[in-house]
Symmetry: C2
């Protein structure tokens, strides 16, 4: 990781922490238990990969900082809500997340259910409240992009496929569809949304960004599976080896460790080739691709 | 109930059933279990009070039928998601809703959790996909109205207050705040959203509609409490007497039955006085007020 990237990343992460803290209702706003659970689940944790992608894509179109911050917050709120619900006993029954007790462990299942619900709503509240694009009609498109990416034909559908396939032998194609929805859809949305915040671009350029995002989203999951295989719980900040224990198919179980690593590297190379024409403006996207594939947690 | 009202109501209900069926993903769309649970939770049931309010308010501004149908569907999807999650074991643990097993009883808790999540998302998908107002900027306002009404400072917050106050003695003021959020916020949103679908109106007229909606929302809850006290499960289509059994405060427990009935009648009179200047255009709003206060289930 270069010094430039580290400074940029820490800057975005710190700014996102402030933005998220500002858009979440205060801890003592009624009902206080709900708002406490919402803040607990969002603040002080996470790499903020999706907001980083929003900012990096926004740089390609010279997007104003303030817009990117709200868009990054909206995407991160969707991500946070999905983790809160995914961790619940009826789903993955995870007790540890980002090194802290999960929301339902800390606040009870009812609060976790409501907190997740309200975090999702807050994302759409944010995307419709501030001026985030040069035209209201572009901004409506942005709302729709986030909704499509999050719903039953996007992220939530991916969680469903994951849920209903426990104990079943998934093929590589099925595994890719599942992850393409479960994690890929929101990562693509992050990049697309960032690209709507600034100067208009051609459909071809939008397609380049989307292709980058698809590769990176898939690489992200492949690396997650590799880390889950290799890491212990302390480094990962969540319960490790869980997928194998649940007999869930992973890239490592289907491809083997070496081929999985090769696949991640190939996806990164494809992603970078596609955004090469953007030159210097895409340098944060380039560095993020490195970061996502080389990370150790 | 007049014949005119009955025909209008049945027309809207039947049209909403078609619209909801069309906007929900097909039963066999992947993941099929999730889409089956979503369709089960929304279709073939309910009085569609919120869509009726959307249509009745839309009539005041001569709104196009097609817009009202999508807006009605969006509001109903939010309502449906809230019921699915509210019925879950961690919340009210209800097994019967609209005369059918609740979603988690029929499909399991994980599917109910995901179905509720995806129904919420679909509401925002709908509100941002079709042209629903004369300007995109008005339509963004509509997205924001729905988000505010649904989130932690609206409906979801009301559910939180309800949850955290079980076993506590709520005052009448606290009870009204809780219901103003839990059911009132979405009812107000339904009327406001309908009023954005057609001709521009003055702030004063918007205020009149909002005042009507506030009174009707409150009256709706007062009547719910009266019915819960008086009806048996068969008429109500859900488990009756549950609030009393849970020691939850109700208008009947705080005011007594006679005073609760008087309050409902007063709220209706206030609502009607406020929309009187709209004349004939508001006749569906007038009849809906009658319907909400005089209903027996």
């Amino acid at each position: 990781m270069t010094l430039e990237f580290n400074l940029w990343m820490q800057g975005v992460q710190s700014q996102m922490e402030q933005a998220l803290s500002a858009v979440l209702p205060a801890q003592d706003a009624i009902p206080a238990q709900l708002h406490t659970a919402m803040r607990y689940s969002v603040l002080d944790g996470g790499k903020r990969v999706r907001p980083l992608l929003v900012f990096a894509a926004g740089a390609v179109v010279n997007a104003p900082f303030e817009r990117l911050q709200y868009v990054g917050a909206a995407v991160e709120l969707i991500h946070a809500y999905s983790l809160v619900h995914d961790d619940m006993p009826a789903m993955d029954n995870d007790v540890l997340r980002r090194g802290k007790p999960t929301c339902h462990v800390a606040f009870g299942e009812a609060s976790a259910l409501l907190a997740g619900d309200a975090l999702q709503t807050l994302a759409f509240d944010l995307l419709s409240m501030h001026t985030l694009a040069d035209s209201a009609s572009h901004q409506l498109t942005m709302v729709n992009i986030l909704a499509r990416a999050s719903g039953s034909l996007g992220m939530c559908g991916g969680q469903g496929i994951d849920l209903y396939s426990v104990g079943q032998a998934l093929s590589l194609t099925e595994l890719e569809r599942m992850h393409g929805l479960k994690t890929g859809a929101l990562i693509r949305a992050a990049v697309l949304l960032g690209s709507y915040c600034g100067e208009a671009i051609s459909d071809e350029d939008r397609h380049r960004l989307d292709y980058y995002a698809r590769c990176i989203g898939l690489a992200f999951q492949v690396v997650d599976d590799i880390l889950d295989e290799e890491a212990d719980s302390a480094t990962l900040g969540k319960t490790a080896g869980k997928d194998a224990a649940n007999n869930k198919p992973t890239y490592v179980s289907l491809l083997g460790l070496a081929a999985a690593k090769e696949k991640a590297a190939e996806l990164k190379a494809d992603a970078l080739a596609m955004i090469a024409p953007f030159g210097e403006k895409a340098r944060h996207l380039v560095m993020l691709a490195d970061f996502i594939v080389e990370r150790s947690s």
